[in-house]
Homo-oligomer: 454 residues x 2
């Protein structure tokens, strides 16, 4: 019995404890998908695995399919390998591969051993691709026929395999030759309009657009943006058909890339963090990033230690140092974001460093002068000393120009060095701008010391 005030995971917990399979099915049938995922994530790991075990494989697969990939992988890992393999069997090949890539190596190996050998070798092949190339995004469920097949024969095949094809999300029928090379494509609609004895050869569109197995996400995105196809076939270097990429999979990969760029910019690296992970695991992942950052911070701050005497003479500068370092960081990160966007969209090439530098220099000058004047005037009025204003405002203005110009080009340089610009750009940028900001302020102050000290 459910009371209105009860929280769903408490009910779920009781259902699992009572091992009431019917109530469990009903629980997931009545709850919206996101509520179900949330309720599940609130149970202890062991209980979560029990939920999956109590469901049929098909229902378990449906539940897994609706979860975030990290949560789903975490859950699958907890299951006995045979159980995990049976649930994976109900998922399309590209989702099997995505999950297995998230699961730790020994567990993934066990699950693969428990799978049907053909299915396992197929998914092993998919796992071997980087997740952002065509081979890593494709599914191997597609329909291919010989060019000699007739409309009648294909329709008959559809009738026989209707059950299985339901999961294929069939849009196109591909035509392949005896060597498995892609020869043509038909839309389902063409079959509908074709007469029974017509061969596919007569109806098919020849030399269809296809993607090479190693084409990267950017290239795939541009092909899908230039053409209104639902899906595109993936071929190897010899033109043999390997799989099918759907438009929605490309869009999902782009969403994942943007999500991951956002997380990295905020210091969550090494994949998703879920609050259902242990506190130690979460702390460890976050510390790996923080410990690099504290070292960079100490390096930048050492400039302040070096100029202690100047600072002691004009103690009010200590209040301006964090403002100058923080504001320059903000200005520089804006330029980083614009460059990241233009890199992603292919509007700038990583080699176009000078052009980008030039384009940011103007913005840096305008914003540097504006912010520098603002802070300088405030400092002047507050301390009633125009030289304090000149030091502080001048340092912020100049450092803003440096930060904005640098922010524009750092992602390009990081990409050229082969690192991930979403991850490395911001720490590199802020370390340099902190260092420069402290140096400019304190060296200007040292030069003008006689006019500043009161």
């Amino acid at each position: 019995m459910q009371t209105a005030s009860e929280r769903p995971w408490e009910e779920l917990g009781r259902i699992v404890e009572a091992r009431d399979a019917d109530a469990l099915l009903q629980f997931f049938d009545t709850l919206p998908q996101n509520e179900a995922a949330r309720a599940l994530s609130r149970l202890p790991d062991r209980r979560q695995a029990e939920v999956l075990a109590m469901l049929g494989h098909e229902e378990a697969a449906e539940l897994v399919d609706g979860l975030a990939i990290a949560q789903a992988a975490h859950l699958i890992e907890e299951l006995p390998a045979a159980e995990a393999a049976a649930i994976l069997h109900e998922l399309p090949s590209n989702e099997q591969a995505d999950l297995l890539q998230e699961i730790h190596h020994p567990e993934a190996e066990e699950i693969l051993s428990a799978m049907d050998p053909g299915e396992a070798s197929n998914v092993r092949q998919l796992v071997s691709y980087l997740p952002t190339v065509a081979g890593g995004l494709m599914a191997t469920e597609y329909l291919a026929f010989s060019a000699d097949a007739t409309v009648e024969e294909v329709v008959e095949d559809f009738r026989r395999n209707a059950e299985r094809y339901v999961d294929y999300e069939v849009q196109y029928v591909y035509v392949i030759d005896a060597e498995g090379r892609l020869a043509g494509v038909l839309q389902l609609r063409d079959l509908l309009l074709g007469r029974g004895p017509t061969s596919l050869r007569e109806l098919m569109i020849r030399e269809p657009l296809s993607l090479q197995e190693l084409a990267d996400l950017e290239e795939i995105q541009h092909v899908f943006e230039s053409h209104a196809f639902f899906g595109l076939p993936v071929v190897d270097a010899k033109g043999r058909m390997l799989g099918l990429i759907r438009r929605s999979d490309v869009m999902a990969a782009l969403a994942e890339r943007a999500d991951s760029a956002y997380r990295k910019s905020q210091g969550i690296v090494g994949g998703e963090e879920l609050r259902s992970m242990s506190v130690w695991e979460r702390s460890r992942r976050r510390l790996s990033w923080l410990s690099i950052n504290i070292v960079l911070n100490i390096i930048a701050a050492s400039v302040i230690a070096y100029y202690q005497e100047t600072l002691a003479a004009v103690i009010v500068l200590a209040a301006f140092l964090p403002i100058i370092s923080d504001m320059s960081g903000c200005s520089g990160n804006q330029a980083v974001a614009v460059s990241m966007r233009e890199l992603t969209m292919g509007l700038v090439h990583p080699r176009e460093v000078l052009r980008t530098l030039w384009s940011e220099l103007g913005v840096g000058l305008i914003n540097g002068l504006t912010l520098g004047t603002l802070l300088g005037v405030l400092a002047w009025l507050w301390q009633d000393n125009v030289y304090i204003g000149l030091v502080v405002g001048g340092a912020l203005a100049l450092n803003t120009v440096i930060a904005v110009s640098l922010g524009g080009i750092v992602p390009l340089l990081v990409r050229r060095l082969g690192f991930d610009p979403a991850l490395a750009s911001s720490p590199i940028l802020t370390t340099v701008t902190d260092l420069c900001g402290f140096f400019l302020t304190l060296s200007f102050a040292t030069a003008m010391l006689s006019r500043l000290a009161t």
Copy 2:
């Protein structure tokens, strides 16, 4: 004549200047889509408009379709209204609406007036929805028939309208009653397998899943995640069919949301910035964000000004203040990113403040102790004064706990207040943690002043 070293936009510029329409078509046919977009973006605004004017409407629409929405809107604005309307006519309704939402009001109104009245009223309706609800994501191109229609009749209709339906990306055939209410759905495959005289009523799946016109992106996402449909019909409160949302449109909207969250976290607000915009426009957009930030920074730094005397007595603390403020900001932003992710995925409800606080407290304690100890020991060794270590390390440890706990709940609170958490969380968080960090360090130091001053 093209030399290997020539940059494509220079060639494009010359082709436009020579008004050579054939060369232009060939240029776009041979260049990959992303190169074409990049080349186009390098031309002055006026020249870009000339390129579109030289192409046929269909080719121009194809080119526009491949551009980023901000770039495409910018380009369409430059055209005479009649020209723009003719190009929009070639695009699907949801893309027309997306573009018109980006175009400034007076220009958009002119273009709408130049469009076919029926088409204009249709797209006006779409523009009236928020871009993240079902109505704002749907296209109005779909196929609907009466339940009495037979397979034969539908196939005949397909044959007659093949030309037009090519652009519909037909997957499903919807069945509506006399009042326009959604009554059933068929897959194209069902038609293929059905016999000629069968009525749709006999083949259709009744009471198909549908989305309410005002369903939000999160809800739409979860429906698509729980079911393997290509597209879902959108209905109004009375169950009348209004349009169709495709899976790929949902994924594209999710990618856009994640992209925009990343840009906001880096201080690019108010939409995309393209380097093809004017320097003044770009500076103005960035300054709107920076000017708020500098005020927040000054507020936080005023704590330092207040404790000037303590700082003057222990000048070495000035080097630690930016480290403590920056590290706390990093730790807090990690918690913000995790909360943003859990909010987006529906794993946490904005009301679950205490639960989130509790879950972050543990991570904050572990990381605070680790980082505080590290910095404290360094300060002690450097200054050969254990009290300096205690002040600096204690302040960082405590402020990390505050920053992490606060970072976890700020997005929830901001969301409950109805603001955009991607935009507001980080500035609120860092202002508070800067303020607290400065206060903790300098008040601890004031209390221990006799043991610190040398």
